[in-house]
């Protein structure tokens, strides 16, 4: 158990140190292959560590693993607390990042300066894993900044392309504003609760009774929680690209390097969704002060409406796009909308078994959507990168040169539309179940409308890349490592569907042990246990 917690604590420092040592190494070593191997090894180690952590978690009956940084006990020092949801998403995110690094070893042929690229990409992974594993609200802010700065840098990686600069500045300006707002939110939380630890906040927000207007914003638990959650939600809906805060996504996608796009849609936006789930279900659950006067319910209702709007706007805009990656950006927005639709079924009027189905659908769809998207981006990247074109019209028919890309795109389209028997269908099936059994059939109608509209957008990629005859003679680049990536992911999305009884049962256990009352209790209890060990068993 102790060793397991040390592994949890070691992942982010390892990533951060190896990221920052690349500029130093670049003084001595100029060989591209070295950096490819170096970054790949580091991310493989991170993947191994996070999967080992998750295996320990299953072994220990999903009892959360707590790591104390510097040996300081929880409310005083920073802790990482990994419960079932954390552990699964950490494993998933490091898997996605590993695939991005693997793809980068092929992609690095087409970029000049590989050292800064890998520095930033490792920094991005540090931020993502840190945000997911952390058990401390302020450490979340620090990790969010690590993530964001790497993300801005990667968005502006092609500094000679005006569109990349424009996208990066739009993202970075609002991003900087948004993270500062989150800083204010943590300060407000600290002023009221006197703690920054998530488990401690969970306990205090559930126990605390409102003391009226004693401290007005500073000191009063209720008003502070309300203000803090308002800011936090705005911040993380920006990070996860929910409807009114989604504008940066297509811009960044249309100009960033291809593996970065995969990392963005597979991991960065999912991190945002994860934090919202953590705040709405663990920190400020149905019994916390946030439920005062139906505030939590009304916020969830608004998230639901925004989720529908996000799905519809994203899929409508997909139809319009000319740039392949911009189209995929809008498809991410539409899927994020679906995730928010199921995420927000935690209103007090909805029975808890429906909520369990909904949250299972959420986690399942995160995995399905992420892997399908990474598959899609790497297949399209294989076709588009050698030509340097991103315009669908100019790419037409090119995937006839690369049969593996055609297979990958086909599988990814089927996965993202949700055809039987691909994984995407089963998570949508769970969503429909949740919507219909919650007594809101109109939500199911909205879901099928979103699916119908977005299938038009996906067919556009299909139509542009696979069907038209190849007219222009074009040089074929060697596929190299992309073949194993695409084939493994294609098999994975099919297996996610064919083994969905087992997968969905497993995810249901994860949800039960993390987001449902039982899991939340476990999250709090392991915090208390660590505290007791420190104070000497009292």
């Amino acid at each position: 158990m102790n060793f397991a917690s040390n592994v949890v604590g070691a992942i982010t420092p390892l990533l951060a140190i190896s990221s920052f040592s690349i500029p130093l190494l670049s003084l001595f070593i100029k060989n591209k292959k070295f950096y490819n191997a170096y970054a790949l090894t580091i991310s493989a180690i991170a993947l191994a560590m996070s999967s080992w952590t998750f295996a320990r978690l299953i072994e220990g009956g999903y009892k959360p693993i707590v790591y104390k940084f510097g040996g300081w006990p929880p409310p005083v020092g920073i802790v990482y607390e990994v419960d079932a949801l954390n552990g699964l998403l950490g494993l998933y995110a490091s898997l996605v990042m590993f695939i991005a690094f693997l793809f980068s070893t092929w992609y690095s042929k087409f970029i000049d300066d590989v050292t800064w690229y890998y520095t930033l990409l490792l920094g991005l992974e540090t931020g993502i894993i840190g945000c997911i594993y952390t058990g401390d609200v302020f450490n979340l802010f620090v990790m969010l900044e690590v993530l964001s700065i790497s993300a801005y840098g990667l968005a502006a990686f092609f500094t000679r392309r005006p569109t990349a600069l424009e996208a990066a500045f739009k993202y970075a300006f609002i991003g900087a504003l948004v993270t500062t707002l989150y800083f204010i939110a943590t300060v407000i939380l600290y002023s009221a609760y006197g703690t920054l630890n998530m488990a401690d906040l969970l306990g205090k927000s559930t126990l605390a009774s409102s003391s009226g207007f004693s401290g007005w914003l500073f000191g009063d638990v209720t008003s502070a929680s309300l203000a803090a959650i308002a800011f936090t939600l705005w911040v993380f809906t920006f990070k996860s690209a929910l409807f009114p805060n989604h504008f940066w996504v297509p811009d960044v996608y249309s100009a960033a390097p291809v593996p970065v796009i995969a990392a963005f849609s597979g991991a960065v936006e999912i991190t945002g969704v994860y934090v919202v789930v953590r705040f709405m279900y663990t920190l400020f659950g149905a019994e916390s002060v946030l439920a005062l006067n139906g505030y939590r319910d009304s916020i969830l209702l608004i998230l639901l409406i925004l989720g529908i709007a996000s799905g519809i706007v994203g899929s409508l805009m997909m139809i319009l796009q000319k740039n392949a990656y911009r189209l995929l950006g809008y498809s991410t927005i539409s899927h994020i909308g679906l995730l928010y639709m199921v995420l927000s079924l935690g209103m007090s009027s909805i029975p808890s078994d429906v909520l369990k189905t909904a949250l299972t659908a959420l986690v399942y769809h995160i995995v399905n959507f992420g892997l399908g998207k990474v598959l899609m981006i790497s297949s399209v990247g294989l076709v588009s990168t050698p030509t340097g074109e991103r315009d669908l019209d100019k790419l037409s028919g090119l995937s006839r040169l690369y049969p593996i890309a055609s297979i990958g795109i086909t599988m990814a389209v089927f996965q993202l539309i949700g055809l039987i028997p691909f994984g995407g269908f089963y998570s949508k099936l769970l969503m429909y179940q949740a919507f219909i059994s919650s007594g809101q059939p109109m939500l199911a109608v909205a879901l099928i409308a979103i699916s119908a509209i977005s299938s038009l957008g996906y067919l556009k990629i299909f139509y542009a890349l696979i069907f038209p005859p190849l007219l222009r003679s074009s040089v074929k680049e060697r596929e190299g490592v992309v073949i194993p990536i695409v084939s493994a992911l294609a098999v994975a999305v099919l297996l996610l569907g064919l083994f969905s009884p087992a997968v969905s049962k497993f995810i249901e256990t994860v949800v039960e042990n993390s987001l449902m009352p039982k899991g939340v209790k476990m999250y709090y209890e392991s915090f208390i246990e660590v505290l007791r060990n420190y104070t000497g068993g009292g």
């Binding site: 039987i420 219909i436 699916s451 069907f467």
Partner: protein, 341 residues
């Protein structure tokens, strides 16, 4: 059991049955429309031309030569066509008609994804395998219709399923012994309980509205008049069928007809309770089933004969008006009445 399943999906209610039904459907539609327009319709093969569609199919499949063009991917088009047909045939396992039945909670979603998503995608992909600008135009027209039809069809079909589930959970007297353990929200459950819902005036209103919406959307899904924009038989050059010839055309026609007849079958079971008020495997039951099938088919034929073709944007808005909005209205009535009951 696996062998039974394999045979059943081939014979009844599998490929052979649904193909035969679809040939009959095509003959009936052609004959009916011709009758209404004072024409002859099919006459040559079989008694009153009954075997004409079948012979057309065989001729295209076996005798006619396939013309290949430089850019086409014929094998892929055939594969997509066959995939569409087998999606429809395997969805028939959800009906009470089938000797081997699959019923599960929410299985109508499987049906919707098989028929509403898989089949249009198969059709579009099939046509896009043939490179031709006119085909692409036809495909995009089909897609813009699918955009509206799919939610409308889903919403319409959801109406009886919600009603059936609500009836059984609120009034157990409808729950006959043998059926009590059956999964809710399933096509099977809806088909055995929906008959009793027609006596309730509120439910009957919702069902009628929903039925109308679904019939209109089936009309559009099957690309019959007035929604034959994507097919554009008369204009020939701007439809999705333009480049098909020989076996490929046969497969496409079969896919199209099978889709129409299986949609009608599902409508009969989900909305009208199949052989209700009689039981399956009784003579009256079979007769009632056939009568209902003919009735719905006649409705489709009448609509087809009455209207001319719409332009694309007209068609889409007509669909919104007469299919999507009524379907949503129906489902709203049901949810409201369930809420206040």
């Amino acid at each position: 059991m696996i062998i039974e399943l394999m045979i059943s999906t081939l014979v009844f209610p599998g490929v052979l049955f649904i193909s035969a039904l679809s040939f009959f459907t095509e003959w009936y539609l052609r004959k009916g429309v011709a009758h209404m327009q004072s024409r002859m319709g099919p006459t040559y093969v079989g008694p009153i031309g009954l075997l004409q569609p079948f012979m057309d199919f065989v001729k295209l499949l076996v005798v006619k030569e396939e013309t290949k063009q430089k850019y086409s991917l014929t094998w892929l088009a055939e594969l997509f066509g066959v995939l569409g047909i087998s999606a429809i045939v395997s969805s028939l396992l959800l009906l009470p008609l089938s000797p081997i039945r699959i019923a599960a909670d929410y299985d109508f979603l499987i049906y919707i994804y098989l028929l509403g998503v898989m089949v249009p995608i198969a059709m579009v992909a099939m046509s896009l395998c043939m490179s031709n600008p006119f085909v692409s135009v036809g495909a995009s027209r089909l897609l813009s219709i699918v955009l509206i039809v799919e939610p409308a069809f889903f919403t319409g079909m959801l109406t009886p399923i919600l009603i059936a589930t609500h009836i059984s959970s609120s009034a157990p007297m409808f729950c006959e012994e043998a059926y009590c353990k059956l999964p809710l929200y399933s096509i099977f459950y809806s088909s055995i309980t929906i008959g009793s819902a027609w006596s309730n005036p509120i439910y009957a209103t919702a069902l009628i509205i929903g039925l109308a919406a679904v019939v209109v959307s089936v009309q559009a899904k099957a690309m019959l008049n007035p929604f034959n924009i994507p097919e554009a038989e008369q204009e020939l050059i701007a439809g999705i069928k333009t480049e098909f010839s020989g076996p490929l055309l046969a497969i496409f026609n079969l896919l199209h007809n099978v889709e129409l007849s299986s949609s009608i079958l599902f409508i009969i079971y989900v909305f009208l309770g199949g052989p209700y008020p009689f039981r399956h495997l009784s003579i009256q039951g079979v007769l009632v089933l056939m009568a209902k099938y003919i009735a719905i088919l006649t409705l489709v034929a009448v609509v087809r004969a009455l209207f001319g073709r719409f332009r694309v944007e007209q068609g889409v808005w007509i669909l919104v008006k007469y299919s999507l909005i009524p379907a949503i209205a129906a489902i709203t009535i049901v949810s409201l009445s369930n809420f206040y009951a």
